[in-house]
Structures are given as structure tokens and as C-alpha cells.
């Protein structure tokens, strides 16, 4: 591992100052479960880190508000997953965390750091023995022509087909969440929908935050579709694995059973958390029949571009959407 300088400030303001003072390339370190791992693989080589895992007030969770749920960026995945309001009224949010990683990792990892975790593409993590445009812009992409069974079918580019690996951002996207960030020039808010980038020609750029911007909190607007929601995650084994395909689905039904609100977002199949607006619209104003659910899945994957080993993700993804909608409808009808 490369040497790095270490600072452990006590407050948010000190953390932002420290990052700027430590100069270009310095990074925030929260739970460390992604950054420290990649530093040991020398995929990430920051000259300095600012430890934010114990900033004052950084892990506060407030789910009692009338208009939004608020999660401090330093809140642990396990604490948010087990929050009673999140569990009962936003099962998709709770499940997206509960079905991720292991309890040990969820006790360490923060819900802020989770959003910015990097791809699990083996060629990216494997280091300099492989060409990788994300790690080394212009070097090529070892996954094309290599083993691409875990890779994305939506949002891919010629430069990179790496899957966005996280679950939580997918559920947040379905529920129109926003993050508040602080930087040297003050605070601003960014919709989760505007946070992640498709790879395009610049796969090394994964999100729209500046290097010196600190995520402070995540805000989720209160919605009725929360109670009628699920996060369905299909994995290569029953537990403790990243998604091959996943779907966050949320529904509101009016008393006659007509769909009045619908949210669908995908994980495991796309280069960024993937919202399926056209599929959502296909369901609005109708009943959620088995056929309509399947059709929504087909619409979600209409633009899929498979590689050599991952075409199975299209049918798997369609069925994942259909099944998630069925579970969501059951919960929405309660």
C-alpha cells in the first residue's frame, strides 16, 4: 500500500478544511470498507485521507418528520436498515441495506460512503496487469473480450461496461431522494438522480460531486408508495453477494386497485442506478396484472446491449421487475 497522511477532524467544517489543506488527491475515509480495500489493492492511491467516520452528529437518523426521512451520511447501514420506521413504511429502503454485504460490513459502512462505492469489475480491482479505462483512462477495457458475465447491459459505452454495484442508491433513486453536500464554497443539494454518471467516454468520472465535497445527509420525501415497496435482489448465492439483477419497486393503488403511483429502479444490470420512467408510465392508470408487470420489465430492458456472457441478465432482469411489482402490489393493497 502507498503511504498516506491521516487526519481525523472532529467537525464537518474541519473535515472540509482538512481535505482542502491536504491538497489534490486527498479523499474522505468513512467506514473504509471500499476505499481502504482499494488502497490496499493500490487501485486507489490517495496521498492523504481525512477520516470522517466519527464527525460530530454525522450519524443522526431522523424518521419522525412529516415530510421527509433524514439519514446522516455517517449513519451505519445496519442502523438505517433496522430503523423501525424504515422497516415498516419503506421496506424497499430497509431491504436494500439488509440484503447488502454482511452484518459486520453493515456495522462499519456508512450510508454516505455506500453511494460512492466503486465497481466490483474484476479487471478494475485486479490492478495494472489489466487494461481498464476506468482505472487508467485510454488503456482499454479488459472486460470486453474477457469475462463479462457480471457486467452491465444498460448504460454501457464502448469505453466501459462496469456495473454500478450498490443496492441502496437504487432504492433511493426510486424514492426521489436528495443529498446535501458541503464544500469550501458552502452547501448545495443534489438529487440522487443527478449524482451518478454513465461511463460514456470518461468512465473514470463516476459522479457529479467535486473531490472536496462532503455528503452531509440523505433526504427521502415521505410517500405512500413507500409502504407498497420492495427491493428484490437476485444473487449468485442466497446471501452475501452483489446483485446479478435487482429491482426496487414501489406502488400506490387507489381503492379500486388502479395504479396511481409507480416507481421502478434497477441494480446489478446497469452502469449507474437505473430509473425506468417509461416502464413506470406503462402501469399508471391501469391494474397491475401479471401481463402488465411482465410488459413493464420488457420496457425497462428495451435498450439493453448485452456482451458475450451477460445476455442472461435481460430475461433475469425482466422477471425480477415483474416479481418485484407483484410483491409491491401485495404490500400496497394491505
Amino acid at each position: 500500500m502507498r503511504a498516506f497522511a491521516y487526519a481525523a477532524p472532529a467537525t464537518v467544517a474541519e473535515a472540509v478544511d482538512a481535505l482542502v489543506a491536504l491538497g489534490p488527491g486527498a479523499k474522505f475515509l468513512a467506514g473504509g470498507t471500499n476505499l481502504y480495500d482499494l488502497m490496499r489493492l493500490e487501485v486507489e492511491t490517495p496521498p492523504a485521507v481525512v477520516d470522517i467516520h466519527r464527525l460530530a452528529g454525522f450519524e443522526a437518523i431522523d424518521t419522525a418528520g412529516a415530510t421527509e426521512l433524514i439519514f446522516g451520511a455517517g449513519a451505519r447501514m445496519s442502523d438505517v436498515a433496522d430503523d423501525p420506521v424504515v422497516r415498516a413504511e419503506y421496506p424497499a429502503l430497509s431491504e436494500s441495506l439488509r440484503l447488502a454485504a454482511s452484518q459486520q460490513l453493515r456495522n462499519m459502512a456508512t450510508v454516505g460512503g455506500n453511494l460512492l462505492q466503486r465497481t466490483r469489475c474484476g479487471y478494475f480491482r485486479g490492478g495494472s496487469q489489466y487494461p481498464c479505462n476506468k482505472r487508467e483512462p485510454g488503456s482499454g477495457c479488459a472486460a470486453r473480450g474477457g469475462i463479462d458475465s457480471g457486467h452491465a447491459v444498460l448504460g454501457v459505452s464502448d469505453a466501459c461496461i462496469a456495473t454500478y454495484p450498490g443496492d441502496w442508491a437504487v432504492a433511493l433513486l426510486a424514492f426521489d431522494a436528495t443529498i446535501d453536500v458541503a464544500g469550501p464554497h458552502g452547501e448545495r443539494s443534489v438529487a440522487v438522480a443527478e449524482l451518478h454518471l454513465e461511463p460514456g467516454d470518461t468512465p473514470q468520472r463516476e459522479h457529479t460531486l467535486a473531490a472536496d465535497e462532503l455528503i452531509l445527509r440523505i433526504r427521502v420525501p415521505v410517500s405512500r408508495a413507500g409502504a407498497g415497496s420492495t427491493y428484490l435482489k437476485i444473487r449468485p448465492r442466497e446471501s452475501y453477494a452483489f446483485a446479478l439483477a435487482s429491482a426496487a419497486a414501489g406502488l400506490s393503488l387507489d381503492p379500486g386497485g388502479t395504479v396511481s403511483d409507480c416507481r421502478i429502479a434497477l441494480g446489478g444490470v446497469a452502469t449507474r442506478p437505473w430509473r425506468c420512467t417509461a416502464a413506470e408510465q406503462s402501469l399508471l392508470g391501469g391494474r397491475l396484472t401479471t401481463d402488465a408487470a411482465r410488459r413493464a420489465g420488457e420496457i425497462a430492458f428495451a435498450d439493453a446491449r448485452p456482451g458475450r456472457h451477460n445476455a442472461f441478465k435481460i430475461e433475469l432482469g425482466i422477471r425480477t421487475v415483474a416479481e418485484a411489482l407483484r410483491i409491491a402490489a401485495e404490500r400496497a393493497a394491505r
Binding site: 500500500m1 502507498r2 503511504a3 498516506f4 497522511a5 491521516y6 481525523a8 475515509l29 473504509g32 470498507t33 481502504y36 480495500d37 490496499r40 493500490e42 485521507v49 477520516d51 467516520h53 445496519s78 454485504a101 454482511s102 452484518q103 459486520q104 460490513l105 456495522n107 462499519m108 442466497e238 446471501s239 452475501y240
Partner: protein, 163 residues
């Protein structure tokens, strides 16, 4: 790499199984390496060193974590508990350790310290309501010998007897 780079050592204090330790750490050192190499507490095992197997599970302020993915400097001011502190000082095993023996919950034993630390936390968290729940909440601990059935039985028994 970067042989000339000077990394300031970071003064760090924490407790391990109730004993205070104070040391100057290179921020690169993982808690796992500090426990094993500097403090001689080799009960905590290194499997993957990438957070994927659970062999290095310890408790930090009473909650289970994987020691390989934590820079030891992050333990400053906190309480670490390892497998060495589970049996009582006179050598009497903890009921969960007894249950592991009773249910043949190990073969080579390499994953066992991590399984026991994880199992203790699983019980304390209340995640022992059914075998399915135990399996889900123990899934961060891999066992290459495949002693899973015995591990679930041991955690179930110790969990039900109210440890």
C-alpha cells in the same frame, strides 16, 4: 513504492479485551495486523484480507466488524474484543464455544474464532429467531470445510438458552 515518503505515525489508544494499549501506528496498518503481529493476539484469523470471509471478525464497541478492512488508527478511543477474551480467565469456555464442540461446528477450525465472535453478536442482536434468520445473519462468515449445519445448530442452542 514511494520509499522516501515520510508518513507521520499516529498516536492511538484503545482497549483490547479490557486492557488499554497505546501505540504509534502507521495509518496503513489494519486492525487485524496490529492484533496479530504487534499484540500477539493470533486467535483472530486472516482469510481473504478483503472483507469477504469473516475470519477476522472482532467486536468494536460491542458490535461485530471485520478487522481486515479497518485501519487500526480508527480504533482510537474505542473498545476491541477478540476471541482471546471470550473464555473466562480460568479457562472455562463460553457456552457458545461449548455448543460449537457439542455440535461438531468445525473441522479445520480456521474460521472458528470469527464464527464465534459473529455468533455472539448475532445472539446479542436478537437475530436467532429461526434457522433462516441465523443463516442470513451468519452469512458473512464463510467456512471452507462446510461446517455450516453445526454452526447454525450451535448458535441456535446458545441463542435459545439466553446467553
Amino acid at each position: 513504492m514511494g520509499g522516501a515518503t515520510i508518513v507521520p505515525a499516529v498516536e492511538t489508544s484503545f482497549t483490547v479485551n479490557g486492557q488499554t494499549v497505546h501505540m504509534a501506528l502507521d495509518p496503513r496498518e489494519s486492525l487485524l495486523d496490529v492484533l496479530r503481529e504487534r499484540l500477539g493476539l493470533t486467535g483472530t484469523k486472516k482469510g481473504c484480507d478483503q472483507g469477504q470471509c469473516g475470519a477476522c471478525t472482532v467486536h468494536l464497541d460491542g458490535r461485530r466488524i471485520v478487522a481486515c478492512l479497518m485501519p487500526a488508527v480508527q480504533a482510537n478511543g474505542r473498545a476491541v474484543a477478540t476471541i482471546e477474551g471470550v473464555a473466562s480467565p480460568d479457562g472455562v469456555l463460553h457456552p457458545l464455544q461449548e455448543a460449537f464442540i457439542e455440535h461438531d461446528a468445525l473441522q479445520c477450525g480456521y474460521c472458528t474464532p470469527g464464527q464465534v465472535m459473529s455468533g455472539l453478536a448475532c445472539i446479542a442482536e436478537g437475530h436467532v429467531g429461526s434457522d433462516a434468520e441465523i443463516r442470513e445473519y451468519m452469512s458473512g462468515n464463510l467456512c471452507r470445510c462446510g461446517a455450516y449445519a453445526g454452526i447454525v445448530a450451535a448458535v441456535r442452542q446458545a441463542g435459545r438458552s439466553g446467553i
